[in-house]
């Protein structure tokens, strides 16, 4: 029953594996050091009272056990390499292998950040090339690659706005944020010392222009807008939005989470955006790594350039690159060194592999895929906003709720069908949201399997809702008790003797 109609996946044995600490036993080793070529030292003499007695419960295992442990664990993960991973707003696209190869070249992976500039010209050239190309892609005037992730980029961008407004005499008090925004937006505004003012969306899921006009005044620093927004809708009033803000001296921040809908088709710098961040781990194919590392460059218009984080890259007449620190108006540093350089290398390799034509085709395919899914599933699932979709589509569980099935249940059942679920219950303006972003990396065959699975689950929701509610069945573990995990948190392993029950 639970296997019926599932075309993409079949269960197969999955290896059991305990925690690494449970395999440890004194005397096992996975290393051998070179013989010491300088005199031995007595740590008690060198360190005195600061010498450490022992290393507690760090594991002691052999190399083959390490390989098996982490290989077995890895097979318990779903990944882009296995199949479609349609997490909305996460842009789970293919992570090209050449990116990994170039990031591991010895002269790039082995460079110390404080090496003199005469022996870091290659690294600086990577930063400069990526900067130039991202500026062209966004249509902005300047950029910093320092932020380590999207939310870190948001913080940098809002601090740039704040520093600019301060230089004009008044940093202002509030930031407007649409009710459809990611949670990082309001959290960022608060970290930058701003009050958050909610901006309502209109019936089409776009900014309510009248509300914006009414709420915009000299106390408002600006608006944080995701465009296309979290419904996957491009706000066609973008020109008017920018005008309303600029007329009152405010600035337009764009969250670039959904830039995969725009690259090579439209440039935020051309439609009134003053400052934005990019997520290299979304749009520019650097791997998500199970939660990171990411990279969140911030691009801005000329007026904000003097405030960029330190240092910036300069180039002299002979083509020699250097780091410039003499920027008195800078907001300072947001991270030590120069950001997640390894991610910059990968993103640059991605842009080179694509070129202008590849990037355009990529964006077109991403939008095509989302609209294909929308067309095939419309009517099977409720489409709360019928406004045109760009690179993602948001359905709701309204039709399935009649049978007591929620978006979270459909997501769990999708796992049995061999797919990673979509983003569940977001954006907040859609009750019971199913937020689907296929990206350009899916073939028609994979999309058809997904559509087929979604239709099949809709049917199950009508005919045997309890089946859907009990999912998943084909995984190592069934649904996990998240309430118990939060009520009495167990956040680390302890030896049995200390009383942790299994």
């Amino acid at each position: 029953m639970a296997q019926q109609g599932i075309k993409k996946a079949t269960t197969h044995p999955s290896q059991n594996e305990g925690l690494i600490f449970e395999k440890s036993s004194p005397g096992k080793k996975a290393y051998r050091l070179e013989p010491l070529d300088v005199p031995e030292v007595d740590e008690a003499k060198e360190l005195g009272a600061a010498a450490r007695a022992d290393l507690g419960n760090l594991p002691e295992v052999s190399e083959i056990e390490i390989i098996r442990h982490f290989t077995r664990l890895s097979t318990w993960n779903y990944a882009v390499d296995y199949g479609m991973y349609p997490l909305g707003s996460c842009t789970m696209k293919y992570n090209p292998r050449v990116n990994e190869a170039v990031a591991r070249l010895e002269g790039l992976a082995g460079v110390h950040p404080y090496q003199p500039e005469m022996v870091t010209q290659g690294a600086l050239r990577v930063l400069k090339s990526l900067s130039d190309q991202l500026i062209e892609i966004t249509g902005m005037d300047a950029i910093t690659l320092q932020p380590a992730a999207g939310a870190h980029g948001e913080l940098t961008g809002i601090l740039l706005m704040r520093a600019y407004l301060e230089s004009k005499g008044n940093p202002r008090k509030r930031i407007l944020i649409p009710d459809s925004a990611h949670g990082t937006n309001p959290a960022t505004a608060a970290m930058s010392g701003y009050q958050v003012e909610n901006l309502k969306s209109n019936a089409s899921g776009m900014v309510d222009l009248a509300a914006l006009e009414a709420q915009m005044n000299e106390d408002v620093a600006g608006l944080m807008l995701t465009n296309p927004n979290t419904l996957g809708v491009f706000d066609e009033q973008i020109g008017a939005i920018a005008e309303i803000l600029h007329a009152k001296g405010g600035l337009l921040y764009m969250d670039g989470a959904n830039m995969n809908a725009l690259v090579a088709k439209a440039r935020p710098g051309d439609f009134g955006v003053d400052v934005m961040h990019l997520n290299l781990h979304k749009t520019f194919s650097t791997p998500h790594g199970g939660g990171g590392p990411g990279s969140g460059p911030v691009a801005c218009k000329k007026i904000l350039e003097p405030f960029l984080p330190l240092p910036v890259i300069g180039e002299d007449a002979n083509g020699l690159l250097r780091l410039e620190y003499d920027r008195p108006q800078s907001i300072g540093r947001v991270r030590m060194f120069f950001g997640n350089f390894g991610m910059h290398v990968r993103a640059l390799a991605y842009i080179m592999a694509n070129g202008p034509d590849g990037l355009r085709q990529t964006t077109e395919d991403a939008v095509l895929n989302a609209n294909y899914i929308r067309k095939q599933l419309e009517g099977v699932y409720d489409l709360p906003y019928t406004t045109s979709s760009m690179h993602e589509v948001v359905f709701s569980d309204k039709l399935q709720q009649k049978n007591g099935i929620k978006t979270g249940d459909i997501a769990k059942r999708l796992i049995d069908y061999g797919f990673h679920p979509y983003t569940v219950s977001f954006p907040l303006i859609v009750h019971g949201a199913l937020m689907i972003e296929p990206t350009e990396s899916e073939s028609k065959e994979e999309l058809d399997l997904f559509i087929d699975a979604m239709k099949s689950i809709a049917k199950e929701a009508e005919q045997s809702p309890e089946l859907v509610q009990g999912a998943p069945y084909n995984t190592r573990l069934s649904r996990l008790d998240e309430v118990a995990a939060a009520r009495k948190p167990v956040l680390r392993w302890k030896p049995q003797a200390a009383g942790v029950a299994e």
């Binding site: 925690l19 440890s24 996975a30 300088v38 005199p39 030292v41 740590e43 360190l47 009272a49 450490r52 295992v61 982490f70 890895s74 990944a79 882009v80 390499d81 296995y82 992570n95 790039l108 082995g110 460079v111 110390h112 003199p116 022996v119 290659g122 190309q133 990082t184 959290a187 010392g193 958050v196 066609e236 440039r267 439609f271 790594g289 199970g290 939660g291 590392p293 907001i331 540093r333 030590m336 950001g339 991610m343 080179m352 592999a353 070129g355 202008p356 590849g358 095509l368 895929n369 609209n371 294909y372 095939q376 990673h420 990396s441 073939s443 573990l477 069934s478 939060a486 680390r492 299994e502």
Partner: protein, 440 residues
């Protein structure tokens, strides 16, 4: 384009299914005036071999066989090949945040192991799933101390990494958080008398780094006593995590902000690295970032989930403990594998080699230059003062493929021609002898 899995016929068929003639119709929501009607002005599409060649040329410009004596927040340790072999599996690096625990147990269990190892190493009770790096981790730790104490001032030792302090300043600027800096004394440790003067009943926390930017191990107990007497928390930043293999962890700290780069993470011109915050159990609800906890499934089997997420931005929005969302999971996995390879015995042996190399180097350098801050213990870094201008020394050495110590002039002009040098297990005796002869 070789990454795109569709034929022209597939695209045609999909357009027909949608009921449109041309892809342009799907971009109609973008107003005409804002549509890009030309090619982006970027280099043409390149083959894989061209991409490899371009990056190989950049790699060569940086040079590949330098003897590196730089530390100062990024450490040149050997990386066992097992690490890249494992983290190159697509199941690790092409997955995302484990929102669906039934198909993310690999990542979740690995993070749970990482949290455990960090607790074992630091002596703390809980550790998070990671922060961006040591500098932002230290900034987040200071803000966490503000939330815990309800106080709004922080006292920071000047011997904390200068770039960490710059990052903290940026973060603190709009949090209504005045920062005071405290000088170091002539043994390189924070000046306890000055510290005692600066810490008041309004101080949320004292932040020190140990080993500090000069490589000196701080007297953590003495600093803790001063902080705690006034009801402030002690935050200890650790930039050279390998020191924990042989240096006593700062058990008196309330929050430890660790940079884990030393645990198998490539130098990679400064990132990606991995920060982590460890603390006492009673402060767990104020910790920023993801946490993984143990639980059971419906059949009573052990499993792991993201937990205590009511602290986080996707639930709490502007009231969250931080805006952090993406963390450094893959780099935490690197650290986890590294710590598993060396383990309880190896980490100690390795740390002891670092200690011995640095002790030997100090003796050699002392023959023709001056070693500063001799009155307190150090791990693998030390400060060398020369008669020759520090940048000239660096420049001269770089031409001999030796990357010398980090000149301190920019951040500590009062130390004159001084530089902080680092010796790890990768610095051979021959390299040390050569460098010592050049430094005067």
């Amino acid at each position: 384009m070789r990454y795109l899995p569709k034929s022209p016929a597939d695209r045609e068929e999909m357009l027909r299914a949608i009921g449109i003639r041309s892809i342009d119709e799907l971009f109609a929501p973008i107003p005409e005036e804002f549509r890009l009607k030309r090619d982006l002005n970027i280099p043409r599409q390149m083959s894989e071999s061209e991409i490899m060649a371009w990056f190989r040329a950049r790699s060569a410009e940086n040079g590949t066989d330098n003897a590196i004596f730089l530390g100062a927040g990024a450490y040149n340790h050997y990386r066992p090949v097992v690490i890249d072999s494992l983290v190159s599996r697509g199941e690790w690096f092409t997955a995302y945040t484990p929102y669906q625990p039934e198909i993310a147990q690999g990542t979740l269990q690995a993070i749970f192991e990482f949290q455990t190892m960090i607790c074992e190493l630091t002596g703390m009770e809980v550790a998070n799933a990671s922060m961006y790096d040591g500098s932002t981790g230290a900034a987040e730790a200071v803000m966490m101390a503000m939330r815990v104490t309800g106080r709004h001032k922080a006292v920071i030792a000047r011997s904390v990494h200068p770039e960490y302090r710059e990052v903290i300043r940026t973060y603190a600027r709009y949090q209504g958080l005045p920062l005071t800096e405290v000088a170091f004394s002539n043994n390189g440790r924070v000046d306890l008398t000055a510290l005692d003067r600066e810490v008041t009943n309004e101080t949320a926390c004292v932040l020190i780094q140990s080993p500090n930017f000069f490589g000196t191990i701080e007297d953590v107990a003495a600093v803790a006593e001063i902080a705690h007497r006034k009801g402030a928390l002690l935050v200890v930043s650790i930039a050279e995590a390998l020191s924990l293999g042989i240096v006593k962890p700062p058990a008196e700290a309330d929050i430890i902000a660790l940079e884990g780069q030393s645990f198998g993470v490539p130098l990679s011109y400064g990132g990606p690295y991995v920060g982590v915050i460890a603390t006492r159990e009673k402060f767990v609800r104020q910790i920023p970032g993801r946490l993984v906890g143990e639980t059971k499934d419906r059949n009573g089997k052990r499993g792991f989930v993201l937990t205590l997420s009511t602290r986080e931005q996707h639930i709490r929005r502007e009231k969250a403990t931080s805006n952090i969302c993406t963390n450094q999971a893959l780099i935490a996995l690197v650290a986890n594998i590294y710590l598993t390879i060396y383990g309880r015995a190896g980490l100690r042996e390795l740390a002891k080699q670092n200690l011995a190399k640095a002790a030997y180097a100090r003796q050699q350098f002392a023959k023709s230059a001056k070693i500063l801050f001799d009155g307190a213990p150090r791990f693998n870094e030390f400060v060398v003062q020369t008669r020759e201008e520090s940048y000239d020394v660096s420049h001269r050495l770089a031409q001999k493929k030796i990357i010398g110590g980090f000149p301190l002039k920019k951040f500590y002009p009062e130390l004159g021609n001084a530089a902080v040098w680092c010796c790890t297990e990768l610095n051979t005796r021959a390299q040390i002898d050569t460098a010592a002869q050049e430094v005067r």
